[in-house]
Symmetry: C2
Subunit: 235 residues, 2 copies
């Protein structure tokens, strides 16, 4: 498998390129609009054909590159059926396998950060978006977030995997690039094995987070797969 992790520093977002060595078919997970030229160059460098752009959820902090890439390369946008992005070309649900050459990505429904969150499990690694971050997790106070549901999602769909499964998150703000199921069960400050569901709900309710910086631009744009609406004209 061809694999590459990208980092966009303004919003500390990770994007992942996965491709089949034999068929040269590729997917990108959680792209950022401003970084599209980098993805295009990386694909061209290895003569890869982008088949799908996958979204772990409708992001509130950055604009997806899905629509740009669709226009440039003919890739198709994949998102959960209930994420509120009917612009998606392929709407998925829990348990669906996306197969691209030798890649086999199992969709795991992990709501809680948003109602439409999914993780992609590829056998030895899982791409958790903002559901599970290294040492923490995404906030649960917007987009139909729900702390109890997030706790249940993480335990049923991620912590049920083997300890050595690699965690690739949607963001990191502390210089980490990956973790593992075992590490997070042991060390995650909010969701580790020493935290009960009640502990977690209490922690999340006391976070007092600022209003998300880019949400008013990012959310409507991402509900349209990254097409940013032009400013409304005066009548």
């Amino acid at each position: 498998m061809i694999f590459k992790q990208f980092f966009e520093p303004d919003t500390s977002t990770f994007t992942y390129l996965l491709a089949c060595e034999k068929t040269k078919q590729a997917v990108l997970i959680d792209t950022v609009e401003s970084e599209v030229p980098k993805y295009v160059a990386a694909l061209a460098e290895q003569d890869l054909k982008l088949v799908y752009t996958l979204e772990t959820h409708v992001h509130a902090d950055h604009v997806t590159g899905a629509d740009s890439l669709r226009q440039k390369l003919g890739s198709k946008s994949v998102v959960h059926r209930d994420a509120g992005a009917m612009c998606g070309d392929l709407l998925v649900t829990d348990g669906v396998h996306l197969i691209v050459g030798s890649l086999d990505l199992e969709v795991r429904y992990t709501p809680g950060h948003t109602i439409g969150c999914i993780s992609f499990f590829a056998g030895d690694r899982i791409f958790t978006g903002d559901s599970l971050l290294i040492g923490g997790c995404g906030r649960t106070d917007f987009q139909q977030g729900n702390s109890g549901q997030l706790y249940d999602s993480i335990h049923a769909q991620i912590f049920s995997l083997a300890d050595d499964v690699i965690i690739y998150p949607g963001h990191d703000y502390n210089g980490n690039t990956q973790s593992s199921v075992g590490n997070e069960r042991k060390n995650n400050k909010r969701l580790g094995d020493n935290r009960s569901r009640e502990d977690f709900i209490k922690i999340m309710s006391e976070l007092k987070l600022a209003y998300p910086k880019y949400i008013d631009v990012a959310l409507p744009a991402n509900q349209a797969c990254g097409r940013i609406a032009p400013p409304a004209q005066a009548a």
Copy 2:
């Protein structure tokens, strides 16, 4: 590629099994609930793993086996996003490629028989459901059917293919099992090259067809992927 065509005589429905010889992954197109044991036996005989059941549309004449197969074998149900079957596990749109081992099925949106009709193009063959039948086509007087739209779909998405592409339809009532793009362009009584869009709309408007025999059972069941609701109990 492993390939098998099934025929269900009560509703003259064709079902297709396609599988990758190497990975043993399989798909079924347009299953019929009463025939599920035959599909299960055919899959077992060749040690195949059913990944997806594909629907060319929400059928009005027979009940799909999608839900039965999902329960028995863990397969996922694939249907067009706008077909009115939100029970689908994977909702697709025009141009999406479904890749299963060496199989690559391109979704071609062909509305007109119903608003949610799609065909599946596999390089040398296309599965046209009820959009294009051998010598004819599906009716256009139910489920948001539209004769002009069906004419446009057939011409843009099917007759634009090479003449030797094989047509595998959703039904045949005359003992045929396949045709080709070239044959249909030459000989289709409603849609052949000698018929204009206006001719076709006129032909369809004058058909005087009977009310579909099974529509009142089949339609609600298929909107739920084949789960037949138990009769309502008296209060």
